[in-house]
C-alpha cells in the first residue's frame, strides 16, 4: 500500500526575511537624539578635565582661539582639552598686593607677548590678529586670580578676552 503524500515535505516554504522594524525604531530614536545635539561648528572648545566650568545663560558661541585654563593649582595653556604648558601657580595668582605691577603674571606675560608678536607677524601673510583669547576657569577660582590673568592678557596685547561657560538649558 502506498503511503499518503506528506503534507509538509516538498512544499515550497515562503522565504523568511529578517524583521528590521524594532531595529528601525531604535535607529530612529538614536537619530533624533543626535540631530538634537548636532552642532554645525562641532566642538570648537573642549572642556578641560578637572575644571568645573561655571554655568551661564549666555548665547555667545565658542571660538577657536588661544585658550587659558585656570584650575585650583595654576594657569595652564589649554590645547584641545589638554593642559600643555604650566604658568604661574595659584599662590602667585592669589597673592594680594597694592602694586599694579604685581597684577601682571611674568611667565604668562612672556608667553602671551610672544604669541601676540607672532600673530602680528602673520598679518603680513593675510591672517588678521584679533587679540582674542578664551579664559576657562573653575567655578571656584577667586576673582583676584581672574583679574590678574585678565590684566596680563590685556597688557600682552590680547584685549578681547572671553570667559568660557557652560550654557544653561
Amino acid at each position: 500500500m502506498a503511503f499518503a503524500p506528506t503534507k509538509l515535505k516538498g512544499r515550497a516554504q515562503p522565504p523568511k526575511t529578517l524583521s528590521l522594524s524594532s531595529m528601525m525604531d531604535m535607529m530612529t530614536i538614536i537619530l533624533l537624539f543626535l540631530i538634537k545635539s548636532y552642532s554645525a561648528t562641532g566642538m570648537l572648545i573642549q572642556d578641560v578635565e578637572g575644571i568645573n566650568i561655571p554655568v551661564s545663560t549666555t548665547a555667545g558661541s565658542p571660538k577657536k582661539v588661544l585658550t587659558l585654563a585656570i584650575d585650583d593649582e595654576a594657569v595652564w595653556l589649554d590645547r584641545d582639552g589638554q593642559r600643555v604648558e604650566r604658568f604661574e601657580s595659584m599662590d602667585v595668582l592669589m597673592a594680594e598686593s597694592d602694586d599694579p605691577a604685581a597684577m601682571v603674571l611674568p611667565g604668562l606675560f612672556t608667553f602671551l607677548e610672544n604669541e601676540a608678536r607672532q600673530g602680528r607677524e602673520r598679518e603680513n601673510y593675510g591672517v588678521k590678529f584679533t587679540g582674542e583669547i578664551n579664559i576657562m576657569a573653575d567655578a571656584q577660582v577667586q576673582y583676584n586670580a581672574i583679574l590678574k590673568v585678565l590684566k596680563t592678557c590685556y597688557n600682552a596685547g590680547f584685549s578681547q578676552t572671553d570667559f568660557v561657560v557652560l550654557k544653561e538649558d
Binding site: 531595529m23 537619530l31 543626535l34 562641532g42 566650568i53 558661541s61 578681547q160 578676552t161 572671553d162
Partner: protein
C-alpha cells in the same frame, strides 16, 4: 446562465513587509556623521574687558561732549551697590535724583541676582532709553566693523546722549568665586520678561577691583 464569480475579488495579496533596507543604509551612514558633529557639552562665551587706562566711560573722541552714564555694580560683603553718574553711598543724589541703590543679600547669604537684573532693567528703561537721540547710528561689532542685516543693509541702532550705554563696571572683592562673577555678568547682560522676550541691558562688562 449565471456568470462565474470573479477570481479577482477573492484574491488576497500576500502580506509583504516594506523593504526598509535602503532606509537602514541611510541611517547607518547618518549616525556616525552626526556622532562626529554632536556637541556633547554646550560651551559658550561671555565677553569681558579691563577698564580703559585712565578710567572714565567715553571711549571715542567724537563722543567727548556726551555725558557718561558710569554704571558701576559693586559686589560688597553685605550687599550689591548699583551706582550711576558717579553717585556714592555718601552722596547718593545727582541733580536731585537718587542714583545709588543697594540690594541686600538673600537670607542664604548669596547675592540677589534676580533683583539686580530687575533694577538694571529699570535703569535701562528709566534712564538710558529716556536719552535717545533722534538719529540712529550704524551698529559696530567689538572690532569696530559695521554689522549688516540679512538683506545687506547696515544695521542701525539708537544713539544716546550717554557715551557708555552698553558698559557696566564690575567691582568685586578678591575672594569672590568665579561662578558668582558669571551670575552677575548674566544679570547685567540681558533681561527676560514674562513672555520670554529678551532685551539687552549692559552687555559689555569692565572688571575692576573693589576699592
Amino acid at each position: 446562465m449565471a456568470f462565474k464569480p470573479s477570481l479577482k475579488r477573492k484574491f488576497i495579496p500576500p502580506d509583504e513587509d516594506v523593504n526598509v533596507t535602503p532606509i537602514m543604509n541611510l541611517v547607518v551612514v547618518l549616525i556616525p556623521l552626526l556622532l562626529a558633529t554632536a556637541e556633547w557639552v554646550k560651551l559658550g562665551l561671555i565677553e569681558s574687558k579691563m577698564p580703559p587706562a585712565g578710567g572714565g566711560g567715553g571711549e571715542l573722541t567724537e563722543q567727548v561732549e556726551k555725558k557718561a552714564l558710569s554704571l558701576i555694580v559693586s559686589l560688597e560683603e553685605e550687599q550689591i551697590a548699583v551706582s550711576l553718574f558717579g553717585a556714592t553711598a555718601a552722596n547718593p543724589e545727582v541733580d536731585g535724583s537718587v542714583y545709588y541703590r543697594t540690594i541686600p543679600l538673600l537670607p542664604t547669604g548669596e547675592y540677589d541676582y534676580a533683583v539686580l537684573n530687575t533694577l538694571l532693567h529699570d535703569v535701562r528703561l528709566d534712564v538710558v532709553e529716556q536719552g535717545v537721540l533722534a538719529e540712529q547710528i550704524p551698529n559696530l561689532d567689538r572690532f569696530g566693523n559695521p554689522v549688516y542685516n540679512p538683506d545687506g543693509t547696515p544695521q542701525l541702532i539708537n544713539d544716546y546722549i550717554y557715551s557708555d550705554v552698553y558698559n557696566v563696571r564690575i567691582s568685586a572683592p578678591n575672594h569672590l568665586p568665579f561662578q558668582s562673577l558669571i551670575s552677575v555678568l548674566d544679570a547685567c547682560r540681558v533681561y527676560k520678561d514674562e513672555d520670554g522676550h529678551l532685551s539687552y541691558l549692559f552687555p559689555v562688562p569692565f572688571m575692576g577691583k573693589l576699592s
